[in-house]
């Protein structure tokens, strides 16, 4: 089987990899590039644990072939903190105890950041609808929503 050579940008770093055509972006992120922050939950686009952005657009990395990344800019959870400085969303998730097992957390953080990048002042309803594609089986969502809204307020300087 012929492998494809893919040139992409991941979290601002030019990145190249070889991949077989049937591999998903999630497969390559985790198994080839050893960026295991993006999680495999359902592999059918239902749970959002593998959320990344492609050219700023939120997608499930399990529903994208790795070869499709050619020429695009990917952002993953690994690009969210700056060294030891957590992103405000990450800090607020900790402060509000917005996670228990943590499996959904990377996807939720990536999805929440994509929301706040577009809409710095989302309502609770907008936030809940935006994050409806990220399933959490532990928290009941309430703490997650509070954490996102609190992070949004901090980012607005309130």
């Amino acid at each position: 089987m012929s492998k494809h050579h893919v040139s992409t940008t991941i979290n601002g770093e030019p990145t190249e990899f070889l991949c077989e055509p049937q591999l998903t972006l999630l497969d390559v992120l985790r198994d080839e590039l050893h960026m295991t922050g993006s999680k495999e939950g359902c592999s059918s686009g239902d749970c959002g644990a593998c959320s990344v952005t492609v050219d700023g657009r939120l997608v499930c990395s399990c529903l994208m072939l790795a070869v499709e990344a050619e020429g695009h800019a990917i952002e993953t959870i690994e690009g969210m903190a700056r060294g030891h400085d957590l992103h405000p969303l990450q800090r607020k998730f900790l402060e509000h105890a917005a996670l228990q097992c943590g499996f959904c957390t990377p996807g939720l953080l990536v999805a929440a950041k994509a929301l706040l990048d577009r809409n710095p002042s989302p309502t609770e309803t907008e936030t809940r609808y935006w994050l409806a594609g990220n399933l959490c089986r532990c928290t009941g969502y309430d703490k997650i929503i509070r954490a996102v809204l609190d992070a949004a307020a901090e980012l607005r300087g309130e």
């Binding site: 089987m1 055509p21 499930c60 499709e68």
Partner: protein, 288 residues
């Protein structure tokens, strides 16, 4: 063994499809295709990714209508203010497909060619008299959206054809559309029933033209001429609504499954048609 190609012209894409030795699949957003690859329901030998073809993603206004590239993501459709204003029903239907993540990739061509009876954008596109541009070995042809799906998972496209764009026609004044679907939760589910209604009114609020299309109540989306006839020539009064409800119910040929029984789907189809008509009429009046 699976092969992948991302041609940079429509002609190359057609040639790749024609030359494929086994099963070839066209990839736009991939939100259905990748799930089918994973489950083994689709076992293509070749994937032809359309997204490197110039113009395959994006929306243009042309001659008072719109051209929507076949692979344009739902989120991009939802962000186009001019399209939302002219075709609110088409936009709300496209935006009902899946989560934010799915909206980042899912396309009209994929929703149509996946050929699910419950596809949300399809009834709205048919109600809108949308056509698609189908590219093939002899150039391109224009086909009505309702001529594409022939049954669950089946289309009328030849193996060397692909959809490259959708056309939405110019709107007369006082025209609007609406799409509603029924699901047992607030979002992110598969339609039990969908209803798309597109109307044009005269200055007195009397309907001069209508299209009513039902989804998820038959093997393909149903364009219900009798339901449209119940609206045309009337304001949206009790007689029109009763005729619409009855015609919609009579057209249904649904299945019994975990999402709804035949009786339930049939009843709900009448309700959804009435409610979608009410929204379409209201929107059309606001454009007077």
């Amino acid at each position: 063994m699976l092969a992948y190609t991302a041609p940079s012209t429509v002609e190359e894409a057609v040639r790749a499809l024609a030359a494929a030795s086994g099963v070839a699949k066209v990839l736009s957003g991939g939100t259905d295709l990748l799930v089918q690859l994973r489950t083994g329901r689709a076992k293509p030998d070749l994937i032809v990714d359309t997204k490197k073809i110039p113009g395959i993603s994006g929306i243009q206004e042309r001659d008072g209508g719109f051209v929507i590239g076949a692979a344009t993501a739902g989120a991009v459709i939802g962000e186009c203010a001019a399209l939302r204003r002219a075709w609110p029903g088409v936009v709300e239907a496209a935006n009902l497909i899946g989560s934010t993540q799915i909206q980042g990739r899912a396309s009209l061509a994929g929703n149509l060619c996946n050929a699910s009876p419950a596809a949300d954008s399809v009834p709205a596109l048919i109600a809108a008299r949308a056509t698609c541009v189908v590219a093939g070995p002899n150039g391109s042809r224009e086909a009505s959206v309702e001529s594409i799906v022939t049954g669950p998972g089946r289309t009328s496209l030849a193996r060397d054809e692909l959809i490259i764009a959708f056309h939405l026609p110019r709107r007369p004044p006082r025209s609007a559309d609406a799409y509603l679907r029924f699901i047992p939760r607030t979002e992110m589910d598969i339609a039990v029933v969908g209803a798309g209604v597109n109307v044009t009114l005269d200055a007195a609020g009397v309907c001069t033209d209508a299209r009513v299309v039902l989804g998820a109540v038959a093997p393909t989306a149903l364009l219900v001429a009798d339901a449209a006839a119940a609206l045309i020539g009337r304001a949206l009064d009790d007689t029109a609504l009763a005729g619409l409800d009855q015609a919609a119910r009579r057209a249904c040929k649904p299945i019994d499954d975990k999402r709804g029984t035949i009786a339930y789907r049939t009843k709900v189809a009448g309700v959804m048609a009435r409610r979608a008509a009410a929204i379409a009429f209201e929107r059309a009046k606001e454009r007077a």
